[in-house]
Symmetry: C2
Subunit: 324 residues, 2 copies
């Protein structure tokens, strides 16, 4: 069994060795740029780890693993245009450094290349895995659309929010694990279990992110807390506070969500104050833990010896306590 | 053997019956809108005609045929954003009627759906056909990038231009025919011949378009001629005139390409005057006919009885003389 850094290194090497054409450079330079911006490479590592856990041949999984990473970066590239994000990993985004047209088209090309990489595997599983990958891709697009729609929606319910983060974030993590299992020819049941593990872990992971943005240790998280509050982002915490708050608290929240000129510190302090009164941190952690437990429950059903499962399980645990 | 209108009707029916999800409506409404804007449905008809010509089962080809049409419409949707086009088939473009974000994301989703449709066929050919389709998709993206780059490039050579229209337009026509042949299990040689037929026909077709924009019958073409001249579009005609013109003529062309305020009729008349002096219409027609002949040469090599080939051949001829 290999650990996270081992697989991470393998992925970085493969990405460095990806042979992209030189021309047209305005198409391929942004792709090279995007793929070497870094990142934790969690999704491709999950493909490889899952494949190894099910006794599969890693060499059949390496290209699909890169395919999922290329797909993930394609979604980031197009999302950055939609979010008008100037920076990604402290570097200019593609649409800022080049322009929107270049960002659209190199994103499109990345998606084609992701599909090509998904097919570079054992022929018996290429087709079912491709089908599964495309189903996932549709869900990710739907998740992004819900996310955009909710930004301007007057009201978003908690089930709607949970469905959105499942589609936008969790299914690709789940799918990464399932692809590894498919390549290793795991049973249908085990494929489903590891998918459910990834999906629930992904939702827990996103809820954790929401919590960290308000309550994280700024040094460990690597950014100032309160960013979501300042930006009026509809996180689980905000939606929950809107749901359980008293009428007065709801009105105060509505005020902070609509006021255009404000002192950032004052706004964060005021909203956090309401959060505390309605115990939103505890309520959020409770739900996060429910999803985490569901994930572990699914994982425990997988019919693989526990010593082979330990690395994936401990990775899941590490991810959840990372910057708490 | 069935004719063009028969297949066209079949395609229209299939597109009407495509069951797209209702929600999120901002994702799927633009897709429905785009797919029902109309068009001649040439590409999917080519898939079906080619399949039938090689004695294949049409029912295995119908979904991939729609897949190619969905892919084609995805490229139009994203191209319209890049070209800032307000209208498509006299209706508002998606990014105009909705917005750019919606256009990017519903385009992405269309591409995923195109891939899903390509896989809905006989299992023995789904994988090789998918590979071929993805190779084509990369070429189409490259063609679009060259087209964008050439719009601002100081100088574009004729080989560069021909390569661009091959990638942007011709390979998808070629690929449509090849997919039909693959589904019908035609020999590798015949697959190559019909691909070469489509590719050369596609280039001839685009050159024909360039000629029609200047010399077409306005009533038959359905739009005013001279549009490419007014927009400084680097067509075969312009590039050829720049190549073969005298120094004076080159300078006059350069003037019309850079002057910002001008009378449209005067510009068209002046440029057409140079075109006539250097016989650019005749030179363009010559090259167009060379490509058309190459197409027919490849087609004649296909080892299928000529009575089965006649419909595809006559379609090719009809397309070339359509609005002349």
């Amino acid at each position: 069994m290999h650990d996270f850094p081992f697989f991470q290194k393998l992925i970085e090497e493969e990405i460095r060795n990806l042979s992209l054409p030189e021309q047209p450079s305005e198409l391929y330079d942004p792709i090279r740029y995007m793929l070497t911006l870094g990142g934790k490479r969690i999704r491709p590592v999950l493909v490889l780890m899952s494949c190894e856990m099910f006794d599969g041949n890693i060499s059949n999984a390496i290209h699909p693993a890169i395919g999922i990473e290329v797909f993930h970066n394609f979604t980031l590239l197009h999302d950055d245009i939609m979010d008008k994000a100037p920076l990604r990993r402290s570097k200019p985004t593609v649409h800022t450094r080049w322009n929107t047209d270049v960002a659209i088209l190199s994103g499109d090309t990345m998606f084609v290349q992701a599909c090509q990489l998904m097919l570079k595997t054992d022929q018996t599983c290429a087709l079912p895995m491709m089908r599964h990958f495309l189903e996932t891709a549709v869900k990710v697009c739907e998740g992004q659309q819900w996310d955009m729609s909710y930004q301007t929606a007057p009201k978003v319910s908690i089930p709607e929010y949970l469905n959105m983060i499942e589609l936008k974030t969790a299914v690709l993590l789940a799918s990464s694990l399932k692809c590894g299992a498919m390549i290793a020819k795991a049973t249908e049941e085990d494929q489903q279990h590891i998918y459910d593990f990834g999906k629930n872990l992904g939702i827990a992971f996103q809820l954790h992110d929401d919590i960290l943005d308000v309550y994280g240790d700024e040094q460990k998280v690597g950014k100032q807390t309160g960013g979501d509050i300042i930006a009026n982002k509809k996180t689980y915490l905000l939606l929950k506070a809107q749901e359980v708050g008293t009428k007065d608290q709801q009105e105060e929240l509505a005020h902070w969500l609509t006021v255009e000129k404000f002192d950032q510190n004052e706004k964060v302090k005021a909203v956090k104050n309401i959060f505390e009164k309605v115990r939103v941190k505890e309520l959020s952690k409770e739900v996060m833990e429910q999803y985490f437990n569901k994930a572990i429950e699914a994982f425990d059903k997988i019919s693989v010896a526990s010593e082979k499962k330990s690395i994936v399980k401990s990775l899941a645990e590490t991810l959840m306590i990372r910057e708490k």
